[in-house]
């Protein structure tokens, strides 16, 4: 065999990171939460997740081949991530056809209409969830399959919304372990944090977005809690960080690459924005949970943030 010389412009080395591996890491980081969810809520979690993932992948493949007439992009695993995240945003016992509709909206409307991976202005999984929340409000908030918690019969976020002082009666440690009601992926706080740490360690995400969101929410809640005095000052922030989609949103949804700012400064502005909007909706809005809407709104602001938060030019 003869020698054939390769030619290319520099650099001739690559760091070895690739999009597929990053997406794989995100899926891996979501597995602990999936396990906790399955343990607490039963096998329906797995089937719902499987339906969502399969739906997203198949829809992406079909849209690529049939409508866009180009090579399918499912190999980058981003559709899998969207599927898992979508499932995590649904209640466990939701009918399968609603899951499929969610997948179709997430991939079809949220992602492929804008040109696929990297071009979508809004997080596809969130697009799907918000669509379902508005279209099927009853099914989307039907958490009867969840184990009853200390405030049995009612969901916790709305309860605390109107009576923040009741937070003292909650067993925070139980919430850590997954014993609260909420969507499938929202309940295992510890597992979600674990996944987040894994992503930080693998440098898939940086700390800026999750920390700024959670810190903003905690400070906001502490200020509100101070009005009630006593232990509420620190119990209310802790509750707000653990309840609902706060952790899932801050660690996995808000950090989505294409819908979040590029620079660290921009990420912090984005995170603070999400934190503030979430808390406003949670405390005074019509919906019990504001995470999805907050991320959605800040997704829309991202191009603007990118425009004004430029990296610091060397020598200036």
């Amino acid at each position: 065999m003869a020698t054939r010389l390769f030619a290319a412009p520099s650099p001739h080395l690559h760091g070895g990171e690739n999009t597929r591996r990053i997406m794989g890491d995100v899926v891996l980081a979501l597995l602990p939460a999936l396990a906790v969810s399955t343990y607490v809520l039963g096998w329906s979690v797995l089937t719902t997740t499987a339906i969502a993932v399969a739906g997203c992948v198949v829809f992406e493949y079909l849209i690529c081949r049939l409508f866009l007439k180009r090579k399918s992009t499912i190999g980058d695993l981003s559709a899998v991530v969207t599927g898992v995240l979508l499932a995590f945003n649904l209640p466990a016992g939701i009918p399968w056809w609603i899951v499929l509709i969610g997948a179709l909206v997430a991939i079809g409307v949220g992602k492929m209409t804008f040109g696929g991976l990297g071009c979508n202005p809004f997080n596809p999984a969130l697009t799907g969830r918000i669509f379902l929340l508005i279209a099927y409000p009853v099914q989307m908030t039907d958490w009867t399959t969840n184990v009853p918690d200390t405030l049995s019969g009612s969901t916790i976020l709305p309860t605390i919304k109107y009576q923040p002082e009741l937070v003292s009666e909650l067993d925070i440690m139980q919430m850590f372990g997954g014993n609260m009601n909420g969507s499938m992926g929202e309940i295992g706080a510890l597992a979600l944090i674990l996944g987040g740490l894994y992503l930080l360690w693998r440098r898939v995400i940086s700390w800026h977005i999750p920390v700024s969101i959670l810190a903003t929410m905690a400070i906001f809640a502490a200020i509100v809690g101070a009005g009630y005095g006593g232990a509420v000052v620190y119990e209310l922030p802790l509750f707000h960080l653990l309840a609902g989609g706060a952790l899932l949103g801050a660690i996995f949804m808000a950090t989505d690459y294409s819908t979040s700012p590029m620079t660290h400064k921009g990420m912090i502005i984005y995170g603070v924005g999400i934190g503030v909007i979430t808390m406003i909706i949670r405390l005074w809005g019509a919906y019990p949970e504001g995470m999805s809407f907050a991320i959605f709104i800040m997704n829309a602001v991202t191009p603007l943030i990118n425009k004004y938060c430029r990296p610091k030019r060397f020598g200036c």
Binding site: R4, L5, F6, A7, A8, P9
Partner: protein, 303 residues
């Protein structure tokens, strides 16, 4: 019922008020513009290719309307007929431009100019040109990643997978000149467009010496000068080991095509001249051939 009436009334009053406001605003900010600009723009092809030298068709039509002498303005896409009708509409005289067409001047196909290394960077001719000569070792030849194809707005260019070279579809080409700008090797030239898309041109841009050229490409011009000698119209010049056929002087007599030892002179949509045996070549025969050629050219022009 009451609420219905109230709604209609409110909206109606609101609408009328806004209409009044809008009317005055429109009056205040009205820009006086020659209505002929719109008309001329409609007559132009609307390709916004920039081939005329203006940013787009709008700018061109403004220039056509406002300038007194439009002899220097020409839309290569629309061609002479449209320019004439525009000039007629405006009451001015249009430029007399003979039609031209983009010509790609490299004949180094994959067979004639084999690849000697493997390029692994971004598939873009300009990128290749930033750091080395290209896969064939010829510093002047077609790189083949199609910067010109992307630049062409009329789909006139395509890459022939077999030869690895770019081909021009003269029927689609509007001679806007985008490819001339896009090619980092300067391979394109806007040449005179003959009837039936006939053409004769030197398909090589290599300014290297013959020995160097033939090392990397079997189809390159080696600067031997045979074509220059045989040309009866003085259309061929040799500069830095490279022949060039002046499209204004060339009469498509085809004599040079037979002389070229490497086949670097391309002949399109025409038969080659029959090869004459060298012995029989007398001055008289040459003159005859010349006359014949001229007659043929004339008939070609009539077509």
């Amino acid at each position: 019922m009451n609420s219905l009436v109230l709604t209609v009334l409110t909206l109606g009053v609101l609408g009328v008020n806004l209409a009044v406001v809008l009317y005055f605003v429109a009056q205040k900010f009205k820009v006086e513009e020659d209505p002929r600009i719109d008309e001329v723009e409609k007559m132009l092809p609307g390709a916004n290719c920039g081939g005329c030298g203006f940013a787009g068709c709008r700018a061109m039509s403004e220039a056509l309307v406002t300038r007194d002498n439009i002899g220097a303005l020409f839309c290569p896409v629309a061609g002479g007929e449209v320019m004439k009708s525009i000039a007629g509409y405006l009451g001015k005289t249009a430029a007399e431009n003979s039609p031209i067409v983009a010509t790609m001047r490299c004949g180094g196909t994959c067979q004639k100019r084999p690849k000697v290394n493997h390029y692994d960077g971004a598939l873009n001719c300009a990128v290749v040109n930033t750091f080395y000569v290209g896969e064939s070792g010829c510093a002047f030849g077609c790189i083949g990643y199609g910067d010109c194809v992307h630049a062409c707005k009329f789909g006139a260019l395509s890459i022939n997978e077999e030869t690895g070279l770019v081909e021009v579809d003269p029927d689609k080409c509007t001679a806007c000149g985008a490819c001339v700008k896009a090619c980092p090797k300067g391979l394109f030239e806007l040449r005179k467009k003959w009837p039936k898309n006939r053409a004769i041109f030197v398909a090589c841009r290599s300014k290297n010496r013959g020995a160097v050229v033939s090392k990397v490409c079997k189809a390159g011009c080696i600067g031997c000068g045979k074509c220059e000698k045989v040309c009866a119209f003085g259309a061929i010049t040799i500069d830095s080991h490279l022949a060039y056929i002046d499209p204004e002087k060339c009469k498509l007599c085809r004599k040079c095509v037979n002389e070229c030892p490497t086949g670097a002179i391309h002949i399109v949509n025409m038969e080659r001249l029959p090869k004459e045996p060298k012995v029989a070549k007398t001055p008289a025969a040459e003159v005859k051939a010349e006359v014949k050629a001229e007659v043929k050219v004339e008939t070609a022009n009539k077509e």
